[in-house]
Structures are given as structure tokens and as C-alpha cells.
């Protein structure tokens, strides 16, 4: 694609694309290497009820995203994993040039979201880490020198501002979500993960095509794969919280493991809510 700058290949590959004025998507996408690296994960997901009709025999891949906002202050939302460390730094420098990176916002401390932090702090030594407050022992997560924010806090960047929103659906307790008020970008991190067809890296969902007929089944399975605790919930209660979340003016729906959605967001949110309900009905099996 013309407007995507790509650094590296295979498991190190990072693409950089401007998705709104001064907002950049840094996207790790395996491309043709997806079957090699994601084989076991796909095989596992293919065993879920509902996979027969969609996921099981379709060539698909997923994505790992970070977002870079350039304003009076610059901020990176998540860092990708260690394998992408060299190329995410190249991507950031491609955008920033000689400007410093001021903030590194950590959604949560899984390695594929925060694992490049030490490399980034070497490359941008004045950058400040931002983590969610309320945790107990930050040092074991490498966040002892972080600034702490809570739900409702706003990080002022100049013309842009990031609101910390309630992370409704999480695995790790120390997780935060973000809403950028000027662009309407909502980042829900691990929630709302989804796949895209092989060879469609670095594209918005609307560039890939109409909403896939497999979308509901795919999201249902990924939700349950990622959040097995849904088995013990009344998903309708969570859906009510999702409704509150989308009361915001969301123009770019940007989870970190799915193509960015910029059209038909209401329809997409409806599919997500149904997937939450469907996912909660899947049984939890103690034995294989």
C-alpha cells in the first residue's frame, strides 16, 4: 500500500500508517508467515463450537497494534513485543524525526503489549511511562518509575487529549483503555480482537470489504479464548457497560488485535455485544 511504510519482515515486521491527522497506527502483521507462527493458536481456536463454519478452514491472520499521537506532546500507546522492538523504534523515528517521544502509555504488562519498553527507553530516554494506578508492586513489572493515572483522568497532549476509560473486559488486573477525544479513537486493547484474511495487513476493516459473514462466530471464539471467565458471567450486565462505553463519539474503533473500524461502528458494536452473549454460553471444560 502506498501510504504504509514497512520495516522488517516476518515476526519482526512493523507497518506505519497515518489513520487520522497526527495519529499513526504501528501495526505488526505477519503476512504470509502467519500460518507458521499462529498455527497452534488457530488449531486451538478451531476446536471451539462454531469454528466449523468459519474459522477452521479459512486462511486468516491477526494483528498487534500500537498507536502514536503527535501533538505538542507525543505519546505511544503500547509497545508491541520484544521481537518487534527494533522495527517499532524505526517506525516511531520515521514519524517523529528528531522530536522526542514524551510518553509511553502501557495498557497492561503482557509482553506483547509492554515488552519493548526497555528498548524504547534506551532510544527515547526522556520518555515517561504511564501506567494504571491502584496496583500493588510495580517494580516486578518494570513500572516502578511510571506516572500513574486512573479511570477518568485525561492526558493533555495539546490539541489531542486521552481519557482513561473503564476497562470493562480484561484479563490482567492492571489494565487501562483509552479514548482520544479529538479524533474519537477508542482503544480497547485486548477486547474485540478479530481476524482478517491473509494478505490484508495494515488495512482498515472497510478496505478489506464488507463485514464478514464469519465475524460474529470469529469474535465469539476469540472472546472466549481470551477471556474464559465469561463462562461465569451474565453477559447482559457487561453489554450494558459496553453501551455506556459507546455513548462516546467513537469515530475510530481501534482494538489492538483487530483491523481498525471507521465505518458502521454502531453495527460492529452490535455484533460485539451479541458475541459477548454468545461467548458466555460456551461451556468451561476442566478436562481436555
Amino acid at each position: 500500500m502506498k501510504d504504509v511504510e514497512v520495516f522488517g519482515r516476518a515476526e519482526t515486521r512493523v507497518g506505519v500508517r497515518e489513520i487520522a491527522p497526527d495519529i499513526y497506527w504501528l501495526d505488526h502483521c505477519l503476512g504470509g508467515y502467519a500460518p507458521k507462527y499462529l498455527k497452534i493458536m488457530y488449531s486451538n481456536m478451531a476446536s471451539y463450537p462454531g469454528a466449523e463454519t468459519g474459522l477452521k478452514n479459512r486462511p486468516i491472520e491477526n494483528t498487534l497494534s500500537s498507536y502514536l499521537i503527535v501533538d505538542k506532546k507525543t505519546i505511544l500507546l503500547d509497545t508491541m513485543g520484544p521481537a518487534q522492538g527494533g522495527n517499532i523504534i524505526k517506525g516511531i523515528k520515521h514519524v517523529l524525526g528528531d522530536r522526542p517521544l514524551d510518553y509511553i502509555w502501557i495498557s497492561h504488562v503482557e509482553l506483547n503489549h509492554a515488552g519493548t519498553t526497555p528498548f524504547l527507553l534506551q532510544a527515547f530516554p526522556k520518555a515517561k511511562l504511564i501506567a494504571l494506578k491502584g496496583g500493588h508492586h510495580y517494580k516486578v513489572h518494570g513500572l516502578e518509575n511510571s506516572e500513574r493515572v486512573g479511570v477518568g483522568d485525561v492526558i493533555d497532549l495539546g490539541d489531542h487529549s486521552i481519557e482513561i476509560v473503564d476497562p470493562i473486559v480484561v484479563d490482567h488486573g492492571l489494565t487501562q483503555w483509552a479514548y482520544e477525544r479529538t479524533s474519537g479513537l477508542l482503544c480497547t486493547v485486548d477486547w474485540a480482537a478479530n481476524f482478517h484474511p491473509m494478505g490484508e495487513c495494515f488495512k482498515f476493516l472497510d478496505e478489506i470489504g464488507e463485514l464478514s459473514p464469519h465475524l460474529l462466530a470469529d469474535i465469539t471464539i476469540v472472546l472466549r479464548y481470551t477471556f474464559p471467565w465469561l463462562a461465569w458471567t451474565d453477559a447482559k450486565q457487561i453489554v450494558a457497560a459496553v453501551d455506556d462505553l459507546f455513548d462516546r463519539d467513537v469515530k475510530l474503533f481501534a482494538p489492538m488485535h483487530a483491523p481498525i473500524v471507521r465505518t458502521n461502528i454502531d453495527k460492529y458494536a452490535g455484533i460485539l455485544k451479541q458475541a459477548m452473549i454468545d461467548s458466555a454460553t460456551l461451556p468451561f471444560c476442566l478436562a481436555a
Binding site: E11, Y37, L38, I40, M41, N44, L64, G81, P82, A83, V109, E110, L111, N112, G115, G134, G135, H136, H137, Y138, K139, V140, H141, G142, E144, P167, V169, V170, D171, H172, G173, L174, T175, Y225, T226, F227, P228, W229, A231, W232, T233, D234, Q237, I238, F284, C285, L286, A287, A288
Partner: protein, 305 residues
């Protein structure tokens, strides 16, 4: 925040049955102190040892970060690798326990830094080490220097398998702070390595105490606060449904010790601790709804007749 504030562990505690006053302690417990600070190395039971260190958290309470060593004859096994900030003491403690033997397998409960922070160091020290993870782990994204791990084995949840002759169950963990978390049950000793589940904070000065030792009893508030922080989704979990699953986990297994990574092993009163966890699930749910939890007589601490 620092981790050098833990007081020197005492080699002695008072005899639980002894008199009060200034008599010297009379019961030796099996704490082994090495020359470096904060080394919490002890025999848990059978051939299972714990190592690790304690760090002081935001509110002054401590949180331990454990690695377990199963000596397993001359074919040692490791459960988790600990945090990189404790690398020096963890590596030294493991070397000390192994006494020249070479560990064969490192099982990772999950890939979060406090658990996987020393995979690289262990692999450098023992290059033949096999690393075992849940099949849900995406190694290329979640394991540092994954290409240098010579033997990486993926295990499906809910299966039984022997490693180095040791029969283990890789349980489908019902409390996970990461999708890829697994619990591991050692059939020989009845020890369930529960990753973050059953973890708890503790007060300064109690870093090395087991729950069955004087002053070591698990405080419900410490376990509840840990679970609130580690498992942010518990606000949505319907206690009756979840607690039914907890019962199923324990009904069908001979679990005699629960060994969390962020708490000392629970060596006695397993049923009471399971009941404690179930109360905590109820309390956290009620807390999220702004309600007072309704506890049964049994849950309040009474006993079934």
C-alpha cells in the same frame, strides 16, 4: 519502593505450644539463609523447595515472587522463573538446592514478567533446559529470545503428562491473570502450583512463614486485596456459578498443598482456604455492586454439622 526492607528471617520461632515470656525459642524451622539479602529459600514438602524474594508494595505490605524447585531424584524440575529484579538471588538459590544437578524442565505458569523474567538466564546457565508452556502461548510474541529456547513444548489445558518421569496434570486454570495461564498439579506430593490464584500479600516480617506456622496464618483481607488487583474481571463473575466450578476442581483431585507464586505454599487447611477464596469471590462481586455480601453460616466460618 524497594525490596531491601524485609527483615532478616529468623531461624527460630517460638514453640506453638510453649509458654509466653522470655524463654528461648525451641522449635527449629527449615529456613535456609544464604549470604545475600532477602533470600527466601525453604523446603516446602517432600522434594519441593521454594526460592524467591519479597518486595514491598504501595501500601507497605509485601508480595513474594516464587520459583519452585522439584528435586525429582536426579532429574530436577522448575516451576516458573521469577522476576528479573530478583535474578541474582533466585539463580543462586536454585544452584544451591540443585547442588550440581542439572534441571531438565522449566514449566511456565504464564509469560508475565514476574513469572518469566529469568527464562533467558536459566537457559544460558542450563542450555539443555526444556521450557513447557500452555499451548495458548504465542511464543514469538510473549517469550523473550524465544528463538534461543532449544526445546519448547506446548501443553493443552486439561491434560496429564509425565516429564522427567514425574506425573503432572496441566489444569485448565479457572483463575487467570493472563489468557495463557495454567495450573500444574504434581500427583506425587498433591501440590497444585496455582500461578497467581490463591496469592496473597503479607505483613513485613512474615515473608517466609507457611500458613501452618505460628504467625503465618493467611489473612483473608490479604488474599482478597491480591485477587482484586490480579483478576480485574471478578467484578463481573457470578459467585454461585464460579464457586461451583471451584468445588469441582477440588472434589476430584487429591490436592494437599496449594503453591501460589505470589504467596507462600498453603500446606494445611486446604478446605478452609478454598472456602476463603469462595467468600472472596462473593465479596468482590458484592463490592462491585455496592452491596454487602450475603454469606451463609458455613461461609462465615461455621462448620457443617
Amino acid at each position: 519502593m524497594g525490596f531491601g526492607v524485609s527483615p532478616s528471617p529468623s531461624l527460630w520461632v517460638k514453640d506453638p505450644s510453649g509458654s509466653r515470656g522470655s524463654k528461648p525459642p525451641t522449635k527449629r524451622i527449615n529456613i535456609k539463609i544464604l549470604s545475600h539479602r532477602d533470600n527466601l529459600q525453604r523446603l516446602v514438602a517432600g522434594d519441593i523447595y521454594e526460592v524467591g524474594e519479597c518486595g514491598q508494595g504501595e501500601d507497605g505490605r509485601h508480595e513474594v515472587d516464587r520459583v519452585y524447585v522439584i528435586k525429582n531424584g536426579k532429574r530436577p524440575l522448575l516451576i516458573d522463573s521469577g522476576s528479573r529484579i530478583y535474578r541474582t538471588s533466585i539463580m543462586k538459590s536454585i544452584e544451591d538446592i540443585l547442588d550440581g544437578q542439572t534441571p531438565e524442565v522449566l514449566f511456565l505458569s504464564h509469560t508475565e514478567l514476574p513469572h518469566a523474567g529469568n527464562v533467558r538466564a536459566l537457559g544460558d546457565r542450563w542450555p539443555g533446559l526444556t521450557v513447557v508452556v500452555s499451548e495458548l502461548v504465542l511464543a514469538y510474541l510473549e517469550l523473550p529470545r524465544y528463538k534461543e529456547i532449544k526445546k519448547l513444548v506446548y501443553i493443552p489445558a486439561g491434560t496429564e503428562r509425565a516429564f522427567a518421569g514425574r506425573e503432572l496434570e496441566f489444569m485448565n486454570a479457572i483463575l487467570r491473570d493472563q489468557t495463557t495461564s495454567q495450573w500444574i498439579l504434581d500427583y506425587k506430593t498433591g501440590t497444585m502450583f496455582s500461578s497467581d490464584a490463591f496469592g496473597y500479600y503479607h505483613l513485613p516480617g512474615k515473608c517466609e512463614l507457611f500458613n501452618d506456622e505460628k504467625g503465618g496464618a493467611t489473612r483473608e483481607v490479604d488474599m482478597m486485596d491480591f485477587h482484586r488487583n490480579a483478576f480485574g474481571y471478578l467484578r463481573w463473575v457470578i459467585p454461585e456459578r464460579f464457586n461451583e466450578t471451584i468445588d469441582k476442581v477440588f472434589e476430584n483431585r487429591d490436592i494437599r498443598i496449594i503453591a501460589p507464586i505470589h504467596g507462600n505454599p498453603i500446606r494445611s487447611d486446604i478446605k478452609d482456604h478454598v472456602a476463603m477464596l469462595k467468600r472472596i469471590i462473593k465479596r468482590l462481586r458484592a463490592e462491585s455492586l455496592g452491596q454487602t455480601p450475603v454469606l451463609t453460616a458455613v461461609e462465615r466460618g461455621g462448620r457443617k454439622k
